[in-house]
């Protein structure tokens, strides 16, 4: 896992806070990551992992603190200009737990349409790119099928290809294998590992401890809306310092 990540930060989060009504989901979260890094976020359910990820690309608006991602500044107290929002969506890709492919379009259209609409590529250019990406995730033969005809693992790999087609600088994965049975999950993890090795910046919210330990450069362990521990993967996973982290890792590593 010794990849040389550039020193340039791609994500810088300071004092991030988010509440849903009276319920505080994130409180004072600080972290940063460099271009080319792979960061895994782990922690018990309800610890704010997904919300943190969704704040990064503004699917949720944060109430406190600031986020800088790919050079775009987002402060909680100032509305984000449309231009910045477009830039944000263009430079970040997202992969969802429930895939969220468009069921009424063929696999090829799923990947080509956003390229045409968001990047202004021609249909031919977009389709060429889409087919190349489908081949890369091992699904070249599925181009003309509808998503419902593909297995969950295939759908998730298509979703990854769809995100890649827009040439994002960073991809956010929100529990990409949680909806899949473990064996099928492996084919998705293999694609993600290949991306990581290719130098893609990635943040992965996951329950896959093996992936967190072996593929990611760094692990962030969250509980109750705060970062409990963070550091090089094997260190956090093997030698957690706080009792809460020890308890969580003990529970998930020994099953």
């Amino acid at each position: 896992m010794e990849r040389t990540a550039e020193a340039r930060p791609i994500v810088e989060v300071k004092g991030l806070g988010k509440s849903f009504g009276a319920h505080k989901v994130l409180a004072g979260v600080d972290f940063s990551m460099r271009v080319g890094e792979v960061v895994a976020i782990i922690g018990p359910s309800g610890s704010g992992k997904s919300t943190l990820l969704r704040c990064l690309n503004q699917l949720e608006q944060h109430d406190e603190g600031s986020i800088e991602i790919c050079g775009i500044q987002m402060r909680a107290d100032t509305p984000i200009p449309r231009k910045d929002m477009n830039a944000l969506r263009r430079s970040t890709g997202m992969v969802f737990q429930s895939f969220n492919l468009f069921p009424h379009m063929t696999v090829l259209r799923n990947i080509s349409l956003p390229q045409e609409r968001a990047l202004g590529r021609s249909r031919a250019e977009a389709d060429e790119r889409s087919r190349a990406l489908l081949d890369r995730v091992g699904l070249g033969s599925k181009a003309d099928q509808y998503p419902a005809r593909c297995s969950g693992g295939q759908q998730q790999r298509i979703a990854i290809a769809r995100a890649l087609a827009l040439d994002p600088k960073i991809i956010l994965f929100d529990e990409p294998t949680s909806a899949l049975d473990p064996e099928i999950g492996l084919e998705v993890l293999a694609v993600m590992q290949e991306l990581a090795e290719g130098g893609m910046s990635m943040i992965v919210v996951t329950h896959e401890m093996h992936f967190a330990e072996t593929v990611s450069d760094r692990v962030i362990l969250m509980a109750d809306g705060k970062i409990l521990e963070e550091g090089p993967s094997s260190e956090v996973m093997r030698n957690p310092k706080s009792p809460r982290a020890q308890q969580f890792l003990h529970a998930v590593m020994n099953r």
Binding site: N57, L59, F102, P103, H104, P114, R117, A118, P147, A148
Partner: protein
């Protein structure tokens, strides 16, 4: 029996030309009303309060007032404010309003049935709000709404019979007119009913077939 049949054979052409008018009015009301219904379904979700309330008023009046009153209003009421519409024009205007009002609620329910993740995916893929609606949300929402819309279309054909009250020579007015001259109301109304059924029953079957087809690519 043979008497009835020969009576029917004699007047069938007149009724058929009335049926054509019924179908024209219904078709026009649907062709105008459903797109307006889609627009209304989108506008009631607008962020602007004045747009939302205006749309809501149009929809609620259209649903709250009986179609018969809207028809009479368009035909007998509007001329006193200077707008003179033919009976065909008023029929299309009034029934379009009804269609818009009812279908906007059907379509709104369809749009809301599209999972939230679809919009989130569209947003993270850099689609504009309008593109997300156009390519992702509306096509899926309309698929959900389609069976109910087709069912509504059949109801509208039946509701078009109300146009007989504003002197539109559609199927029911023709039947009624024939009744007043021949006094054979029973037989002519029965034939009119058969003609409505001859359209509505196959249409209902068609709706079921389309419903099955549309379910094909849903996740």
């Amino acid at each position: 029996m043979s008497q009835t049949l020969s009576f029917w054979a004699e007047y069938l052409p007149k009724l058929l030309s009335g049926l054509v008018i019924s179908l024209e009015v219904t078709g026009a009301a649907l062709a105008i009303g459903i797109p307006l219904g889609l627009v209304a379904a989108l506008l009631v979700q607008s962020k602007s309060r004045s747009v939302r309330w205006t749309t809501l008023a149009i929809v609620e009046i259209g649903r709250g007032a009986p179609a018969l009153i809207l028809l009479q209003f368009a035909y007998f009421g509007l001329p006193s404010s200077g707008l003179q519409l033919s009976s065909m024009g008023s029929a299309i205007a009034a029934l379009s309003w009804t269609t818009c009002a009812y279908t906007s609620e059907i379509i709104r329910a369809g749009l809301q049935a599209v999972p939230r993740g679809q919009n989130e995916a569209a947003m993270t893929l850099g689609l504009s709000r309008l593109d997300a609606l156009r390519f992702v949300i509306v096509p899926q929402g309309m698929r959900v709404a389609a069976p109910a819309l087709l069912g509504f279309a059949i109801l509208m054909l039946q509701a078009s019979a109300l146009c007989f009250s504003i002197a539109l020579p559609e199927l029911l007015s023709r039947a009624n007119l024939i009744g007043t001259t021949t006094f054979r109301y029973m037989e002519i109304l029965m034939l009119a009913a058969l003609l409505y059924a001859a359209i509505c029953i196959p249409a209902t079957i068609l709706v079921a077939v389309i419903e099955r087809r549309l379910g094909q690519h849903t996740a």
